[in-house]
């Protein structure tokens, strides 16, 4: 019975998660209307490490405090009942054939070392949590890989029917397609750099469930580690009556590494309260309840290993930072951050690489970095104008950012923020280099007074015939670097006008013009 309730609860939270994920998409208005980042807001690991690394308090994380309080009293119920990644692991793990032997490896301490590593490095301003935080990882994997994949596969299937154009059948398929479009398909096919890489890692995490059920949750998840520590003195505990005959059924069913077959060795920090042991105990000897005085096993992480994790966390900070990228003028010129992004150092202290901004970006222009921002900034957002520009009147990325790495901007403010500057490649520009009329960059330039203007010249063509040409020029004061010109430049391949980060408002040093 408990199992059914648990599965229903898990399913409900997974559905809420997926539904909010689907709502992280523009419908034309500048508001989404739903609290799409609520799972990130409720994530205590992101909450604590972001406070450590940014040294700022976040009010939006009130839900994380709720989860912390709940864990202190009830234990890791979040892992067993709520966490959407846990639920997926649970589901995949149920495919695995049960063996009579209990777990082969017992690395449950490892997740605590990951947690210590992340906490120490974030204390010294290096925020790497997002890479392995389960909520962040899940949203990123869904945004960059799973959802584009599902969308591509679905569209390709229905396109095949559409192109085959078999009478009647095509009507049916188009009808189904239109419904799917309304329910869960994206407005347009999303494309992301590294989607295969991110998707492979996600597949790996799911696949580990076949090695051992909930492998990730037991051994790797740093959020599980944090909640484990918090649940050390939880009231909700497990007792075993004298009816127990050591059959070991509970140990085989255990979804954590809680060693439930020995009452006194039961590790409450490893229990995720799935209560399967209670459900299936043949003698009904297991009981969960508020048993403050019930003894639990100690938590021995090993002094040397803890010290080792702390040192690794310490060493990681300078190791990640000894890159020339931090020097002005050396940074990747194509590292164009979304509008409202904090100054780069501050930005990296907060960005948890969740991919919310990339998911919501209406032009698909926000892409994950690989090493453009250093290893520290892997999977942080970068605008690639050739894929998609920054829409002049859109502020969605700042609205969904859970940590304020991208500030939420009001429209008048957003319209003034420069994320870079456009410059013309006179060697490729049609009017400049080839005496051929083209005005696309000027036409699309979105600033109220266009940042692109024309210099009218008389130019001779090969036959010596004179013609009037409009040569585009960029007004560096007015240009905001949105990249619409680059996105629409008809000179394909390497565009004749392109944006680089120089001039971005957020930086004091990466400037071109005298202030």
């Amino acid at each position: 019975m408990t199992k059914k309730i648990r599965i229903a609860t898990q399913g409900l939270f997974l559905l809420i998660f997926l539904w909010l994920f689907l709502q992280t998409e523009s419908k034309g208005a500048n508001e989404l209307g739903y609290p799409v980042k609520i799972f990130l807001d409720a994530d205590p690991l992101i909450f604590i490490t972001t406070i450590l690394s940014s040294r700022e308090w976040y009010q939006t994380f009130y839900l994380a405090i709720l989860v912390i309080v709940a864990t202190v009293f009830l234990g890791r119920v979040f892992c067993g009942w709520i966490c959407p990644l846990g639920t997926l692991n649970n589901a995949v793990g149920s495919i695995k054939k049960r063996r009579l032997k209990t777990s082969t490896v017992n690395w449950y301490r490892f997740k605590y070392y990951v947690l210590i590593f992340l906490s120490v490095s974030s204390l010294f301003s290096l925020q790497l949590t997002g890479i392995v935080d389960p909520i962040s990882l899940l949203i990123r994997s869904f945004s960059l890989a799973v959802y584009p994949l599902v969308s591509y596969a679905t569209s390709a299937t229905f396109d095949a029917f559409y192109n085959a154009n078999i009478p009647f059948l095509v009507n049916v398929s188009e009808f189904i397609y239109s419904i799917l479009k309304k329910i869960f398909l994206p407005f347009q096919q999303p494309f992301y750099l590294q989607s295969a890489f991110v998707g492979f890692l996600f597949l790996l995490i799911l696949g580990l469930n076949l090695v051992e059920r909930r492998f990730w949750c037991k051994y790797l998840c740093p959020l599980g580690g944090l909640l484990g520590i918090l649940s050390r003195y939880a009231f909700l505990r497990r007792s075993v009556s004298e009816d127990c005959n050591d059959c070991g059924a509970c140990a085989r069913a255990c979804q954590g590494s809680a060693t439930p077959d020995r009452e006194e060795r039961w590790k409450n920090t490893e229990c995720i309260y799935c209560m399967d042991c209670d459900d299936l105990c043949p003698r009904n000897a297991v009981h969960f309840g508020f048993l403050r005085n019930q003894p639990v096993a100690g938590m021995d992480l090993g002094k040397r290993r803890v010290i080792g994790s702390i040192l690794t966390g310490l060493i990681a900070v300078p190791l990640m930072r000894i890159t020339p990228l931090a020097r002005a003028g050396v940074s990747d010129p194509k590292l164009i951050r979304p509008p409202g992004s904090l100054e780069e150092k501050e930005f990296l202290r907060r960005c948890v690489k969740c991919g919310e901004c990339m998911k919501v970006c209406i032009t698909n222009g926000l892409q994950p970095t690989l090493l453009e921002a250093g290893l520290e900034g892997i999977w942080s957002p970068v605008l690639v104008p050739r894929i998609g520009y920054c829409e002049y009147r859109c502020t969605l990325c700042g609205q969904v950012c859970p940590t304020g790495a991208i500030k939420k901007l009001e429209l008048p403010e957003k319209n003034k923020v420069k994320i870079g500057l456009a410059m013309i490649d006179k060697g490729r520009c049609l009017p400049h280099a080839h005496a051929t009329p083209c005005i696309v960059c000027e036409e699309v330039c979105p600033t109220p007074t266009k940042a692109i203007w024309f210099e009218q010249v008389r130019a001779k063509n090969r036959e010596g015939k004179e013609q009037l040409l409009k040569l585009p020029r960029v007004d560096l004061e007015l240009c905001i670097g949105c990249g619409l010109c680059e996105a629409k430049c008809p000179v394909l391949g390497q565009p004749a006008i392109y944006v680089t980060s120089v001039g971005e408002s957020r930086s004091r040093d990466n400037q071109l013009l005298l202030p």
Partner: protein
């Protein structure tokens, strides 16, 4: 659409244009016996002047028959609100949709291939909401529905066009009058870019010829030029209210060149200042000489 079908459709469209004296016209009114080329209506209500301008040409029934599938093509190209005059006035669009249904149209479709994100353009321009409120079938452009069409043109030899526009019984063009960097002004003929697929940016290399080629191919039933507000600078996207001029005018006509030539006068220019108007005139698409046209002015 096969080429043969296209030709058939083109011929059919040509017939309606050449012989406007179909039944609707005969019964509509006797005062319209004198042929009006362009109707210009002025007044404070965009809906009122839109209807007045169409009535000035003989009423909607002259153009739309019972059972017609009609495409109404406004300019929804930009993520701008109506008061910025970068997109067609939503009330003008909804009025045309409503009139088409009143004339017995079976379906009235509204779409545009926008320049920036379609969701934002459709929503922020107010056109999607206004047109659906009166029953218009508002849809985003579906990339699969473009078909390559051979053009007997001078600048464009072939180009992908939107099938829903080509297969419709009647097409009504509802552009807004704006400035534009290369073509100086964007009026009716340039609005056809919204049913062109492919990499449209390239047509700017032979702008005037391309616009004429496309306009020759489309042959709208009716053109309604929205000049309720016009954009006088920083077009076609605009963004500053100081560039917007309120004219409270709607112009209706069936001659694409004539309507654009008249549109030029709103900006203090003449048809001869616009390359594509001259080219259209020369190609026999229409006439740019306003003195030879019967222009009816209506205060509504």
């Amino acid at each position: 659409m096969k080429r043969r079908d296209f030709i058939k459709a083109a011929i059919a469209a040509g017939v309606t244009l050449t012989f406007p004296g179909n039944t609707g016209m005969i019964f509509s009114s006797l005062e319209a016996a004198e042929k009006v080329d362009i109707a210009v209506a002025r007044g404070v209500s965009p809906a009122g002047i839109t209807k007045a301008a169409i009535d000035g040409l003989g009423g909607i029934k002259r153009f739309i028959s019972k059972g017609d599938i009609v495409v109404v093509k406004p300019n929804i190209g930009w993520d701008r609100m109506p008061e910025y005059a970068a997109t067609t006035n939503p009330e003008v669009v909804s009025t045309v949709v409503r009139l088409c249904y009143e004339a017995g149209a079976k379906q009235v479709k509204v779409f545009d291939r926008t320049v920036v994100d379609p969701r934002r353009c459709y929503k922020q321009s107010g056109i999607a909401d206004a047109a659906s409120a009166v029953g218009g079938i508002v849809s985003f452009v579906d990339d699969r529905k473009f078909r390559e069409v051979k053009l007997p043109g001078v600048a464009l030899k072939s180009w992908p066009f939107y099938t829903e526009a080509m297969e419709a019984d009647k097409v009504i063009n509802i552009p807004i009058a704006k400035t534009h960097g290369l073509s100086t002004l964007t009026l009716g003929m340039k609005n056809w870019m919204g049913i062109m697929g492919g990499s449209r940016g390239r047509i700017h290399q032979k702008m005037d010829g391309s616009l004429v080629d496309v306009a020759m191919f489309i042959k709208p039933t009716l053109i309604i030029l929205d000049a309720v507000r016009i954009l006088t600078a920083n077009g076609p996207q605009g963004g500053s209210l100081s560039d917007v001029k309120q004219l409270n005018t709607v112009i209706a006509g069936t001659d694409q060149v004539a309507v654009d030539a008249y549109g030029a006068t709103l900006f203090g220019l003449k048809g001869a200042d616009l390359g594509y108007v001259i080219a259209g005139h020369k190609a026999g698409l229409g006439t740019m000489d306003l003195s030879k046209l019967k222009i009816k002015r209506i205060a509504a």
